[in-house]
Symmetry: D2
Subunit: 224 residues, 4 copies
Amino acid sequence: MKFTDQLWKEIEPIYKAILELPFITELTAGILPEEVFLFYLKQDTLYLADFSRALSLAGVRSQGSDHMNSFFRFAADVAVVEGQLHEEYYREYGVAMDAEKSPSCFAYTNFLLSTATTKDNVISIAALLPCFWIYREVGLEIYKQASKHNPYSDWINTYAGEDFNEGVNEAISITNAVAEQEPEYRREQMSDAFVKSTELEWMFWKSAYEQEQWPLREAYNFKG
Amino acid sequence: MKFTDQLWKEIEPIYKAILELPFITELTAGILPEEVFLFYLKQDTLYLADFSRALSLAGVRSQGSDHMNSFFRFAADVAVVEGQLHEEYYREYGVAMDAEKSPSCFAYTNFLLSTATTKDNVISIAALLPCFWIYREVGLEIYKQASKHNPYSDWINTYAGEDFNEGVNEAISITNAVAEQEPEYRREQMSDAFVKSTELEWMFWKSAYEQEQWPLREAYNFKG
Amino acid sequence: MKFTDQLWKEIEPIYKAILELPFITELTAGILPEEVFLFYLKQDTLYLADFSRALSLAGVRSQGSDHMNSFFRFAADVAVVEGQLHEEYYREYGVAMDAEKSPSCFAYTNFLLSTATTKDNVISIAALLPCFWIYREVGLEIYKQASKHNPYSDWINTYAGEDFNEGVNEAISITNAVAEQEPEYRREQMSDAFVKSTELEWMFWKSAYEQEQWPLREAYNFKG
Amino acid sequence: MKFTDQLWKEIEPIYKAILELPFITELTAGILPEEVFLFYLKQDTLYLADFSRALSLAGVRSQGSDHMNSFFRFAADVAVVEGQLHEEYYREYGVAMDAEKSPSCFAYTNFLLSTATTKDNVISIAALLPCFWIYREVGLEIYKQASKHNPYSDWINTYAGEDFNEGVNEAISITNAVAEQEPEYRREQMSDAFVKSTELEWMFWKSAYEQEQWPLREAYNFKG
């Protein structure tokens, strides 16, 4: 059994929990409120900037030039390509990208970046994988069941598309390649990081549906 | 007006919100449930390990040897001295330090570490200051009003004590020294980081009182 | 006067010293020994891997997404595109890329990477600029004077080409944009870093011509 | 055989080469020119600042709190205690600490810092060990043979003293503890880093005796 097969087994219950989230079911049915989708999109823009930073750091700390190049390409693609997808949405909906990170976005991005600072690179690589892999699986699931005239079809098509699929396969393959060279205790640390990121994926989607605010501001009505 | 005076003005409403938290009022009155205090203490142990990492990184990135040495001493002292205070409590209460980070502890520590990775050092220095300064002010406030036979007097005495006070003054003085050399737009970034850490201090104490759990596990009863 | 005009003035004597190096004059005349060119090329392969790491770190630490994206693209392009140019040479000459870093390559790459670890990002950005700018100027100078049937014309055409030129202009423009927002003392630190990297460029070419070895191994004939 | 015994075997020829350096033999005999010793001392001050940064980064990236605390203490002690020893010498000799890094100091310090940025922490730990271990062994060797009225006896006594000895044993013990948990290929990377740092130790002492200058400035008489 490949290491990544073990990883997926670990997070299957969380993956199922993700598929049950109202954000996902309403996105699939095409009935997700526009306001919720835009909240999500802005958080995703903020997320992807730091995700590309964390990918970049995984490249910096990769020893072989193949893995380094893959991560540098991922970072450049995320930063540029995803930027374009989001830009188009903002134009289409006539809104400005003016958000600050929600607590869940804050937690997830800072986790990825601090992992790159304090843990060995293979653990970062494992922490980065869910954003690829879960997105593809969720994307394909939504794609299969999506209503014909889904207002979010561009988003769905991106994550169910072949370009994204290839990137995901490459990220999975790198994870297996590096895991093979590690002792068992460090593979467990990789697994922990993978599970934590998956949990943060669940929180990210859940928090978008709830249009999550910072609790201090809710409690005291500070503007921050 | 010193830069740090401006900083304090910014966070005064949050500071007041902290003093009103049940964690603080019950700690002062000596009626905070032991279970809550122990939850806090374990999170604080986890927090301080990463706080010392972030202090250390501020030393690594300080240009003058005076500031570098101060941060290296802070890091060594936090790691060792605070470790001892906590150890004694765990022994006294007969409990093991077995916790994993709560969501608020996770958010705060990863914020400090990712700031050290992605922002200029003066911004990290500002982000590190609340954990010194707020603790001293809260500590002194509690000390003034604390009941005579407060079961948490060791904790209170530490943060109201002269040793801690000197460290706080040094951290404030470093913050002013570096802020003086920065342009206005970066002082604003320092201020933003200071405010965010103060908000995370509020969340940290609040979450301890609530014995905060990870929402996915509460929802699905995963053991994680 | 733009900040980068000041920078160039600072390094003009070093730039002239570079143009006088036998490596450059013999490359221009097409009489550089193949063995020397290959020594250079292998060192350059090793250099570029770490140069792309340092570019990537400059992206990670850039605040605006424009600068971040530029550095991530630079890193991806250096890693991939330059890799191809070098690969073709190794194939053409029938040699394997089997070198370890020479002392000068070691000094330059580690300087770029440690600057990214211990100094503010604008200083890294200044340290990264000579490898763009000096290469373009040297490339154009060689291109103008090169013999018709120069065996190193592919190399010369790359650095005198339009694609490379655009990247250099972008790097210069980013340097000016960030320098404008900095106080004078930090602009001086940027200037120091720019001068040091230019000096290391001179050493890099000089050391290639001399096929520089590690002194301990020369002295004791260790294989290392 | 302990991992560190293997490491020492690897570097025995370099260690012998160090003992044969005129810097060491003349220091032992107490006939090292004051000017050379002061050149060394200034470079050592510059070295130790970055050595403490690299120690600090090893602490940041250590997973267990024991190792983290050890490295934070090392960093704080190097920065403060060694600073004092050097200060006293500067006062005694009536000189100012006004040097910039020599090429060998530059190479060594940037190697340690860039290793912390691009390699796994255990490799950094191995790269940091020679500065402890070689200094103790060289210090003890000099101590045994030193002339009675050696003008450099304070320096010699420090590195042959019990305080330093304990630190060295701790660093060796940490290296063994982390090496035990690593696969063979990474232990080889640790060994490579240990050998490289030892080679840089040899260069550092050799370059001090030669009062090494930057080659560009020697060639062109630039003031830099």
